[in-house]
């Protein structure tokens, strides 16, 4: 049981990060039906900027929490700037182009950002300075660290704040109006360009926070780290129903938990030696080795995608997505 709880904690931490990144995908998709493949790269840039700042301040004697906060404080404006520039230069000129054009542009932007980061921060795996004193807390036999607690709490606060922004403020109302129908929203006096730019900026800010969290949690950053993280978060957004803000949150958390449980248990349940009686060959093989695992823990990604496929087969618009013909 304690193992199960531990896997759940692992999954929740990972899922919280996925959820914050997935929000960036889903907000942009909701408003202009663009899958912004460069979003994962923005997360990476957030982590890299935070790395530079934290590295520079590590020896300054400031308390670790302050250093990390300054790191995040620098990463967020940089990422917002990157997000805004990306929208202004790469996507806005293509807003009336066929949908495929901005999609391919997004992939191009992703490659450009990755290589710019490579030029600035080198190809090496960068190690975050170990400034945070990691404390372990035990809950029902499972261990949770102070960093994990902070990550989960931060993600809850961010999601609550974003939900408040989208459903309670004028900007949020304008965003939802633009998402429903840009032309009509424009006729009602909404400055669509500003709303879209704001959406990109907010998404990039969230990505920066996610980058800082990933960086401090794992202690490493590399210029390629954004692509796989972005892919997972995008999957989470689709899982929850892309374009739907609560869906992205649910999808992210679910994705993290499924991955952790998958990696934790798939090996034990596909160990053919448990059914070694069924064939002589298997009995012999197991007498030698004791284990004959069909799918090891390296299949954890496959596991997550299998869940995605199953959900899409039965609910093509995702868990919380609306059944609308022209969406998703």
């Amino acid at each position: 049981m304690d193992i199960f709880i531990q896997q759940l904690i692992n999954g929740l931490t990972l899922g919280a990060v996925y959820a914050v990144v997935a929000l960036g995908y889903t907000m942009v998709y909701g408003i202009i039906q663009l899958i912004n493949f460069a979003h994962g790269e923005v997360v990476m840039i957030g982590a890299m900027v935070a790395f530079t700042v934290i590295n520079a301040l590590a020896g300054s004697g400031l308390p670790p929490l302050v250093v990390v906060l300054i790191g995040a404080g620098c990463a967020i404006p940089v990422c917002v700037l990157v997000g805004y520039t990306m929208e202004r230069l790469a996507y806005r000129p293509l807003r009336r182009a066929p949908r495929l054009a901005p999609l391919i542009t997004a992939i191009g932007v992703s490659i450009i950002l990755q290589h710019l980061a490579m030029l600035v921060w080198s190809r090496n795996v960068l190690a975050f300075p170990q400034i945070i004193d990691i404390k372990l807390y035990t809950i029902a036999g499972a261990v949770i660290t102070n960093v994990q607690v902070v990550i989960i709490l931060t993600c809850i606060v961010i999601m609550a704040a974003l939900a408040a922004l989208v459903y309670r403020t004028r900007l949020g109302t304008a965003m939802r109006a633009t998402a429903q129908n840009p032309q009509v929203a424009g006729l009602m006096g909404i400055d669509i360009d500003r709303v879209i730019a704001a959406t990109f900026a907010i998404g990039a800010g969230l990505a920066a926070v996610a980058g800082v969290m990933v960086g401090t949690y794992y202690g490493i950053a590399q210029y390629t780290m954004g692509s796989i993280l972005g892919l997972k978060a995008f999957t989470a957004a689709v899982l929850g129903g892309i374009g739907n803000v609560p869906g992205a949150m649910l999808g992210g958390v679910l994705m993290g938990v499924v991955e952790a449980l998958g990696a934790g248990y798939i090996g034990s349940y596909t160990d053919l030696c448990k059914i070694s009686g069924i064939s002589d060959w298997l009995t012999q093989r197991c007498a030698n080795d004791g284990h004959f695992v069909l799918f090891g823990s390296n299949y954890q990604d496959v596991f997550a995608f299998v869940v995605l496929i199953l959900v899409l087969v039965f609910r093509p618009s995702g868990l919380l997505g609306e059944r609308v013909g022209d969406r998703a």
């Binding site: 896997q7 261990v143 202690g219 490493i220 998958g262 823990s297 390296n298």
Partner: protein, 407 residues
């Protein structure tokens, strides 16, 4: 037209001067031994390693080792076939690039070298070895550890350093005898290197009677190991072995400590770097790892002193091995009483020579028998040699140093 004629004359003069300059330069070298009554024989030995690029310092270190051996041999007045042997080192740069490496190999063949000491990188040595094989020229590498090199069936290829696949058994033996875990978890990164290493470790541990858990796998890009580690934690292993690189191994140890796993962590050479401390911080303290060969400070005292006296620096990494490689060729030539590759090659196969890195004998494949693997322990943020495993026996590092100091 007139102008062109002048230019031609000028060029011809320059060329003539240049050529005669070269000739003059060479003469004194050949003249010194010739001044004495005994006839001399010129023997060319090639050394090749990257002398430019990011590992140029290691290449120069290798070259220094070979140069020291050649200079000592020249000073020792070796007689081969009744003639005074004069050895000449042809030092080339392969830029750690397989394409350049094969070009250099062809250059050596054309220059009719008697033997080749090199290359440094496995990836360069393997394609180049085919060219030496065709020409029948013996080559001995002092640093290429990839097993494939001697699996090609070439009878002219030797290595004086251990193979990568000897590391697995060594680190597993050390683990089993020194840490005495009852249960060991083995993880790999699903690459050819990581999986191969992990297989060897698991096999050796099982043979030593240690229970090995079902293999856990990640990828070479994995950053999150918590799910795998949590599963392992439930089985309470006394030790964990990871076959993979430092970029993934660092996060692995760090996350294990965050989960409260207290097992001893052990790695192969891919994660046997100080970078582990950077990536995992205090969590990396006490980890074990292995590297093929012995650290240079463990080479024989005579070698270390001669090297320091000649080059005014300490050897960095593989210089003792390239030194031995050159000496092995010279020794085989002495025994065969000939510098012809075809004649002295059989003597290399059955040689038994006490070099700077200990006694060297080759097996049928050309690999060194009982090659050493060094076990390192992370102490105060640095990987430091703890023991040397040789022929299945583990010798603490300070004892090993003493045994070499006496040589």
């Amino acid at each position: 037209m007139q102008y062109a004629k002048h230019l031609f004359t000028l060029l011809a003069t320059v060329a003539a001067v240049g050529l005669s300059g070269c000739g003059e330069e060479k003469k004194p070298e050949a003249a010194t031994p010739a001044a004495e009554s005994t006839p001399t024989i010129d023997i060319k030995i090639g050394h090749v390693a990257p002398l430019t690029g990011s590992i140029a310092h290691l290449g120069k270190d290798n070259e220094n080792g070979a140069r020291l051996a050649i200079d000592q041999a020249n000073a020792a007045d070796i007689m081969i076939d009744g003639k005074r042997a004069h050895f000449e080192l042809l030092a080339e740069d392969d830029q750690a690039d397989p394409k350049v490496g094969t070009t250099v190999a062809q250059k050596f063949v054309d220059a009719k070298v008697a033997g080749v000491d090199g290359h440094l990188n496995s990836g360069v040595t393997i394609p180049a070895s085919a060219i030496y094989h065709q020409a029948g020229i013996p080559m001995i590498t002092g640093s290429a550890t990839n097993p494939q090199l001697t699996e090609q069936g070439f009878d002219n290829v030797f290595r004086v350093v251990a193979r990568d696949d000897q590391q697995g058994p060594a680190v597993a033996n050390y683990l089993a005898s020194n840490e005495k875990p009852k249960v060991v978890a083995v993880i790999d990164d699903s690459t050819a290197y990581g999986e191969g290493l992990a297989n060897e470790v698991a096999k050796t541990l099982k043979a030593a009677g240690v229970k090995v858990l079902a293999r856990e796998k990640g990828t070479d890009k994995q950053t999150d190991w918590k799910a795998v580690l949590t599963k392992i934690k439930g089985e309470k292993p006394g030790a964990v072995f990871y076959g993979g690189m430092d970029a993934t191994g660092g996060p692995l140890v760090r996350q294990a400590r965050e989960l409260g796993i207290k097992a001893v962590f052990s790695f192969g050479d891919g994660a046997c770097t100080d970078k582990m401390h950077e990536l995992a911080g205090e969590a990396a303290e006490g980890m074990l790892c292995s590297q093929a060969g012995i650290p240079p400070q463990a080479a024989s005292k005579a070698f270390l002193e001669a090297y320091k006296a000649k080059f005014k620096v300490d050897p960095i990494l593989y210089a003792p091995f390239t030194y031995d490689a050159a000496n092995l060729m010279i020794e085989a030539m002495k025994q065969a009483n000939s510098a012809e590759p075809a004649k002295y090659l059989p003597f290399l196969h059955k040689i038994s020579y006490k070099g700077a890195t200990g006694t060297i004998e080759f097996d049928a494949k050309g690999d060194r028998k009982d090659a050493e693997i060094t076990i390192f322990v992370m102490k105060n943020g640095k990987v430091q040699p703890a023991a040397v495993v040789k022929a299945g026996k583990t010798v603490p590092f300070d004892q090993f140093l003493q045994s070499m100091g006496g040589a």
